[in-house]
Symmetry: C2
Subunit: 203 residues, 2 copies
């Protein structure tokens, strides 16, 4: 998935990973393009030029951040649907693990959301489209299975419903705080209650 490794810069090291995390926070808070290599250097306590001992470009730092996060996310999603439970339970788990990943990978997710349009123009990040396609496949399969099993309403368009769910969940990263009043799991339950049962009061 990730770009060619094998150069002296291709292998991972502790320092390298730490630098990626430092850069990730800046990317998330100020935007990727608005974050300069001098900012990253300052935050890491080195001169900007020294970053190029570890990475061959600023883009490489971003790539490393995104590809490693997305690799994890896909693994988690695949595990959820491989379980073979009911669609309702599977959908619940997809929402829960998504919210959990939000508290662990806030920076990566934020960057992904904010810079998606920009990255679409870079061939290096073509793999983002592939990952999105698999994620969509997983969610929509669960939705279709739920309709087939009579658990979900049959009058809803699966694609529109998927987009609704995806957007609702992931955009929460904009305001979700780890130290906020609601934990990721509590938030997931709140969202699930809305998603499954709606806003209307039942009599």
């Amino acid at each position: 998935m990730s770009p060619k490794q094998g150069t002296k810069q291709g292998r991972t090291s502790e320092r390298r990973e730490a630098l990626v995390q430092i850069a990730a926070e800046l990317f998330a808070d100020q935007g990727y393009r608005a974050t300069t290599v001098r900012h990253i250097g300052d935050a890491a306590g080195v001169l900007s030029g020294s970053l190029y001992h570890h990475f061959d470009s600023k883009e490489t730092i971003l790539d490393e951040l995104l590809s490693s996060y997305l690799g994890d996310l896909l693994d988690t999603y695949r595990a959820v649907v491989a379980d073979g439970t009911t669609p309702t339970r599977a959908l619940g788990e997809l929402v829960r693990v998504s919210f959990r990943s939000m508290s662990e990978h806030r920076a990566a997710i934020t960057v992904l959301q904010n810079e998606r349009g920009y990255l679409r123009g870079l061939p290096r990040f073509d793999y983002l489209t592939e990952v999105e396609a698999e994620v969509r496949r997983i969610w929509i399969t669960v939705l279709r299975d739920g309709v087939a099993a009579g658990e979900f309403r049959a009058d809803l368009d699966p694609l529109v419903t998927y987009r609704f769910l995806r957007d609702s969940v992931w955009v929460a990263v904009r305001w979700f705080r780890r130290d906020g009043s609601l934990s990721a799991d509590q938030l997931a339950e709140h969202y699930l209650s809305l998603i499954f049962d709606g806003l209307t009061q039942r009599v």
Copy 2:
């Protein structure tokens, strides 16, 4: 709301408005900061320096785009809740007019979403926070009224529910296309059906 007018550049003109729209499309597609004044000039068929006959800065173009859109939106929202209908109908209308504004003001909304974090640091755009506060007040009032009237569930946190609705609706601007298979109104109905009744099949 908007900055001081009255200079020779303060008044509106056809050319001025056309330039704002040209810039708006570029801002939306490439990001505000990634769009250079030379890009805008090229798209408008003039040299970049000529833009400064109409605007005193690139920031002014953005300000004009956002403030005029938000003025319209607030007027529309105020009219919806001033009607004095039921909370269910009011919420439905809020969602509908939001989706409608999406097809008319795609560029402004997209920019607002993508650059919100950046604009937070600019005093010139402090009014965005005020507008957001009023919008939130309007939505949450409808939600609370709905609970009080027994139309909406009482076990949901209004603030979390507001964020859920706001995010779900507005993020759709990322993929909504005017010429797509679904109109803004059709999309609104689909979303409302999900929001009110949820995903679960009722027996």
